[in-house]
Structures are given as structure tokens and as C-alpha cells.
Symmetry: C2
């Protein structure tokens, strides 16, 4: 049995499951402060004979194994969690192999293993919700370099009819600043889920996301693009992306059929927690290898 944590900014999902990605039991815990949230996480897992734990966490996090702060949540705006040693805290409670990556990397791993990118050695998973983030699988492995990607903060060009200044505290009108759920709400004066009937909202959303996908495609050349998160439940955004992206690329390069290339997560809201389970499986396998 394996343990999995999808640590989000508003809630933690904790689950146990098997090596085949089957989730057996799960709970949700509010993300308040570590002193309150973490004991609940620990008492959930104490009930099960788990062999390893996989964590997909909100960030930024330190994923560099050479770094003294490996396993930490780092410069998050959620101050209670800033510099929280996530992996170390779990290690203290459970002497088990622990896998650690971003929430979106975990979702990419879930979709690449059992979801929309199954059988492919490359994909991107993008979440569009409270924030915008993306994880990627490149040549069969989670993309990681000097740090983990922060694809939500790339620059986009302003829509000519968009006077909104943007919501990102770092870059104002980067992609996240213009296209996240809170940006939609502030621009249009209404929560995104109540704007379903206003076509102009989703047309503009697709305009920004199509620009982002163009950059991701030209830079990473992924074999599948998966878009999840709360905002993407408005399916009309996909149609807006299908409209704008070919115009932007203008036949440069050849891509698969667009509606088969840019898709919803097949695991739905379970992409992240399933990916965390696979991360636990990988951590377990690595520990066995080291044991030999």
C-alpha cells in the first residue's frame, strides 16, 4: 500500500492506494497552518501499512536534491507555510521513502501514466484556477532543471479590448495575472462560475491561453497538452483556444489534430492525487534499488 498527498493552497487531499494507481481511502484536510494541518495528515496515514509516500505540493518548492532546503515549500505567499520543511516533517513521522514534486508535476505524471497522455513520453499538464501552473514530462521524466518550471508566469500580449491591469503581485499582467480565476473575477466583477453565459469572457480567456500554449509548444514540443483546474470546467474555453491557436501558429510546424492534442484530464480531479501515488511507487522502487 502507498500513501499520496496532493497539497493545495486551500486543501490537502490525502489518499492510500495500490501500485496500479487505484485509490482506496482518502480524506480532505483544510490548508490552515502547518501545526494544525500536518497532525491530521499524519494521523490519517498512521492507520495504513504504507511503504512510501508521494507528495505533490503547491509551491514554489525546492526540488533540487543537492540543496540544503530540498523538500521545503519556499517563497509562497501563504506565509504560514513559507520555509516549511515538508519532506523532513513527513520523514520525522514516517521513516519511509518520500517522493516530492509540485502539484502540477504530479498531475502531469498521473495523466502520463494512466490518463490522457498514457503511453506517451512527453506531455504538459496545466492547471487554470486560483493560480496558473504547469508540470511537464519530457522524455519520460518530470521536467526539472535549475528549479521546477513556473510556466504560469510567462508574458502574454494584452487583448486589444482588455483594460484590466492584471493581478500578479510579481508581474502584474503575466499569464496568471490576466487569466487566473481571481483575474477573471476582478476583471468582470463576478465569480468565473457565474459568467458561463458571457461569451466575451471565455473568448478572451482562450485568447490568453492560446498564446501560452503557443510558447509551450514552440519551446517544449509536448506530445499532449492537458488543461485542468476550475476555470477549464468552462468547456467553451477549449473552443476559444482551438480558434486562436492555429491563427497564432499560422501553419508553422505540424501538430496533431488540435481537439485530440489539447484536452481535458482523463483522470479529472484525480490527476494530482494519482500522480502523487505514482511518485510514492517510484520512491519505493528507488529505495529497493539502493538497498541492493
Amino acid at each position: 500500500m502507498l500513501g499520496a498527498i496532493e497539497a493545495g493552497g486551500t486543501k490537502f487531499v490525502c489518499a492510500v492506494g495500490d501500485e496500479k494507481g487505484n485509490l482506496m481511502e482518502r480524506i480532505q484536510i483544510s490548508t490552515t497552518v502547518p501545526e494544525e494541518t500536518m497532525p491530521k495528515v499524519e494521523s490519517f496515514f498512521k492507520k495504513y501499512p504504507i511503504k512510501a509516500i508521494g507528495i505533490g505540493s503547491f509551491g514554489p518548492i525546492d526540488v533540487n536534491k543537492e540543496s540544503p532546503k530540498y523538500g521545503y515549500i519556499t517563497s509562497t505567499p501563504k506565509t504560514a507555510w513559507r520555509d516549511f520543511p515538508f519532506v523532513q516533517s513527513m520523514k520525522a513521522a514516517f521513516d519511509l521513502p518520500i517522493g516530492f514534486t509540485t502539484d502540477v508535476n504530479a498531475a502531469a505524471l498521473g495523466e502520463a501514466t494512466f490518463g490522457a497522455a498514457k503511453g506517451l513520453d512527453s506531455c504538459i499538464y496545466i492547471t487554470v484556477g486560483t493560480g496558473i501552473g504547469a508540470g511537464a514530462i519530457v522524455q519520460g521524466k518530470l521536467l526539472q532543471g535549475v528549479s521546477h518550471p513556473e510556466m504560469g508566469h510567462i508574458l502574454v500580449r494584452k487583448h486589444p479590448n482588455d483594460p484590466y491591469k492584471g493581478k500578479c503581485p510579481y508581474h502584474s499582467d503575466c499569464l496568471e495575472g490576466l487569466a487566473s480565476g481571481p483575474a477573471i473575477e476582478e476583471r468582470w466583477g463576478e465569480k468565473a462560475e457565474n459568467l458561463a453565459a458571457r461569451e466575451v469572457v471565455w473568448d478572451m480567456e482562450g485568447y490568453y491561453l492560446a498564446q501560452a500554449l503557443m510558447q509551450y509548444i514552440l519551446i517544449l514540443s509536448p506530445k499532449k497538452i492537458i488543461l485542468g483546474g476550475g476555470v477549464m470546467k468552462q468547456k467553451q474555453v477549449f473552443f476559444s483556444i482551438y480558434h486562436y491557436l492555429p491563427k497564432l501558429l499560422n501553419s508553422y510546424g505540424s501538430l496533431p489534430e488540435i481537439s485530440d492534442y489539447i484536452v481535458s484530464p482523463r483522470l479529472g480531479d484525480d490527476a494530482g492525487i494519482t500522480g502523487a501515488l505514482i511518485l510514492a511507487r517510484q520512491a519505493h522502487q528507488e529505495s529497493l534499488k539502493k538497498g541492493i
Copy 2:
């Protein structure tokens, strides 16, 4: 002994060298039409007892080994070379293992093996010249997904003082359309190499390249960024990038010291041909493995 080809849009460099990256003999051949250029390439290599050939080619090229057009130059604007079966043509003349990638991927491989990114498992090599292109090493391997990257064509925001409409036949004012050598020449009415004293030229060039680097960093998180090509011989562009990039990123994420992170190729103009030699070495090693 190994053979290496750096196939550029204006000239081919052909060389022979050893497994350690030492180049022994080389020639340059004009890129005219395949019927003229290729026989010269072949007669150069016929003189040497080579075991494998590595090719870094201008593109777009088909690098997907499953594709029926693997080894072809595909939709290049150089019409004589469109749909030219490069690998197949070499195979017909030399029954040897052949490695095949883009010219910029070859340069990235050269720099990652013997140059500015030596010892690192990730880097980007960007050339800014007649066109703009980039190759990348990710987790120790050449980045490749549904195709090879086409990073030169990403979108950037126009400089507020730039009325120039851009030169890219596909996207007008994408990065290549605004920041390539021909774009500089058309905007300022003078060849780039004659504009060294005009500060505003290089300030604007850095403004565009800094935006591109921001996107590459947020999406790929490379451990080193290497900028080569004719335009980058104007060293003041680096200073303009060092000026704009930190403003754009605005302390988001932590990067190495910028002047050590964004650098010139240590192999100079030999990055590409050296990378092609390493590609030949890899192709030879793979053929030995398959032989076992």
C-alpha cells in the same frame, strides 16, 4: 575517426575528429542545391576512415524516428532543400551509423559536453543571426517531443518605441521577426555589424531577447543559457539582457548570478560542429550496443 556536418543555410562545415571532440580536418562548402553541395560533402568524407557521422542541420527537419520522413529537411524556405532526405542521402554514400538533429541542438550538445555547460545536465543554446533558433539539453538528453523546438518563433511584446512591423513570414513580429540580424538591418537601415556604436539598437535587441529568456527560464528552467550567432558578437547585447531580465522576472524564483548564467559559447563558432562530432560518437556507441 568520426565525421561531423554542420549544415547551415549559407554554408556546410564538414569535419573529421576524434571521440574527445578534437577537430582534425575541416572544409566549408556553400549551401547551393543538394545536387551540387552533397557530392562535395561526400568526397570530403571519402578520404577518411570514419566510423560514424553526426549531422546538425538547418531546418525544420524531421527528427521523429517513427516518421516515414525521418532524416528529411522539411518545410524550409530554401526550396531546393525542401523534402531533401538528408540522412538517407548520406546512408546511400556511407553505410555508417548517422546521428541527426538540428544545428542548434548540435551546438547545445557541444557546449554541454565540452563548453560553457560542461558537467551540467541541462542548458539552452540560442543562436541569434540570420534567424533565431535554440536547442536544449534536458536531463542529459537533447530536447525532443512531438518535434524539435522552434523557440525562435515565440511571441514577445513590442517595445513602445519600435514601429517596425517585423520580418517573420509566418508571425510578422515574433522574436525572430523582431530580433534577427535581417530584422535589425531592415529596422535601422544598416547591417547589424555597422551599427555597433548605436546604443539604442542594442538596448532594444536586449529588450526582446530578455523577454525570450524569461519565457525559456519559466518553461524549461535551464541550468545555463548560452547565446551565440552573429548578432551576439555585439557584446553590449548581453549587458542589455542583464539590465532587462531581472526587471521582468522581478525576483520571481532564484537564479544563479546572471553574468555566469547567461553567457557566450565557450567553443565559439565551433559549438555546432563539435556537437555534430559528439552526435557521431553517440550514433557509433548506439550501433555497438545494437550489435551486441
